[in-house]
Symmetry: C2
Subunit: 356 residues, 2 copies
Amino acid sequence: MSRFMRKEYDSIVPYTPGEQLNDKKYIKLNTNESPFPASPKVLETINEKLISNLRLYSDPKLKKIKEAIAEFYGVSANQIFVGNGSDDVIAFAFMAFGGLGGEFCCPDITYSFYPVFADLFKVNLEQIPLKSDFSVDVNDYVNKGKNIIIANPNAPTGLALTHDEIELIVKTNPDNVVIIDEAYVDFAPGVSAVDLVNRYENLMVTQTFSKSRSLAGLRVGFSVSSKALTDDLEKLKYSFNPYNVNTLSVEAAAAAILDRKYYEDTISQTIEIREFTKSELIKRGFTVTDSKSNFVFAKSDKIPSSELYEELRNRGILIRYFNSPRINEYFRMSMGTMEQMKTVIEVIDEIIKERE
Amino acid sequence: MSRFMRKEYDSIVPYTPGEQLNDKKYIKLNTNESPFPASPKVLETINEKLISNLRLYSDPKLKKIKEAIAEFYGVSANQIFVGNGSDDVIAFAFMAFGGLGGEFCCPDITYSFYPVFADLFKVNLEQIPLKSDFSVDVNDYVNKGKNIIIANPNAPTGLALTHDEIELIVKTNPDNVVIIDEAYVDFAPGVSAVDLVNRYENLMVTQTFSKSRSLAGLRVGFSVSSKALTDDLEKLKYSFNPYNVNTLSVEAAAAAILDRKYYEDTISQTIEIREFTKSELIKRGFTVTDSKSNFVFAKSDKIPSSELYEELRNRGILIRYFNSPRINEYFRMSMGTMEQMKTVIEVIDEIIKERE
């Protein structure tokens, strides 16, 4: 930090994005991107006419994308807040509901950005330990009396709470905001709490176009909630960056979400690939969580995950290894295409064989 | 605000973007957009290959666009911070250098977002009155002992401080950050302070692709400063939204800034159109500031600006009227094409004639 920076930021440890290596061609399974391209409708939408209109400001109200999302979920457009990625949405939520001394809680093992947001906005964050099997103990959150953020399915474990469990948490914390970060929920049919937003004014569900819509590079995330909570985030947005989502992102994301068939096809393929990968790993003696997301979380007693990460990387396969307490025995591997995952399993077999 | 929102945001009055009306086709001169499309290189860049790569995350380091900007200005890439529009950059700067009780000052008549940023991040902002001719009194800022932000050229007046005046302010405030918001500086040859960033570690210059690069809808802004100040903003970015500029914006903006000839051509045309418009208004008895930007700031004693705004709007021409103390006699009109401005002058003649 320079001598000009406010000292209150001294202690913040920024978020570390996954590696984006370009030194050679990798099978890239480290940042939970989709192996499929975005809907063909995206390519149709980003055309010459749209590009030549870029001289004009984007629509700060984000009408087109809000209406498309609202149609998809059967809610009103004024219940949708759209951000420059869901990190943007969650950042505003921490600021709005926890800023300068408010209270949030979340699991101790989860998306590692939550504690960073808390530090940045001076939010008191309680990190509640997961059970030893990495599941969330719902009882820890019932009648909690603090704002709550839970990734469901959770990362990097992939485990999901049920719809009923989420509802219990929301219902028993009526005076606090409950944020359910559903970045991976499309890979977990029946789990989403979106249908509850009209029943509980304290519920905010966040989702992203980065995973199930194959648009990580476009930066679009959103929340669905009561109009009141949406308006809170809008107030902060108009005080920070009113034109937060650009024209190309708005148009492309709207096209993507309206292509329901393509979305359903790629989701079901991803689930099939995930279940295949889990079963292949289990056959080989790996411990594998029951991931409901687009990644698996696993470990083997034949090779430490830190070494498997290195060996795979040397062979052109990138996975994610977290050198953090409680999860440093595990690795996280995003789902590639079926062909890629078959290759990965073969390579893992080779690596383990070499060590015997 | 909902009952869940932190009370500290009660008093904030968010920024009001200019109108984006779609009820009919307007000559749109209200938000300082360029009348020219972006460089043809932008269209070439946003191609099928780039779009099909959107499944991958954008580069959080923003290497390509930082290197392009650095090359243009003859500085190092690590002196460039890139944001989702220059509002994003300035927001981070207010937060970094003024957050939670720090001190900033700026002119009382300037970009109306500065006081909003100050409110949001709990910065004490002193608003220093412009002189009666709307110019900045440099002496107000010499040895000020507070962080300073000055739009140069200023908005909505269009008036610019000289390069020497800016240097005097920067030099006499060595223990505070001086931010020069150069959103309009490309229309004011010789005014930019970018060449001073290697001499003064406390200087940060911000610019945007929204005006002179005809890319308002793409949302790309940046700062040029010492590496130390850049690093401060990077720390906040990685604690807020690491993937803040998407892949399409990075690639398109890099293509645009490297097309120097197109940029120089459209700038010189805009300056010619501005000088034409100023002289036509002066011929008709308007009071017109010596704007160095891509808009004019003027008033007529034949018609109040609030009424001129309404009359023009009824005839399909949008300009900006600010109902604020000291400037409520004036209007601001962005530069369209030469043909559009000739039409506007004719329409103004009609409006005034009808009232005689």
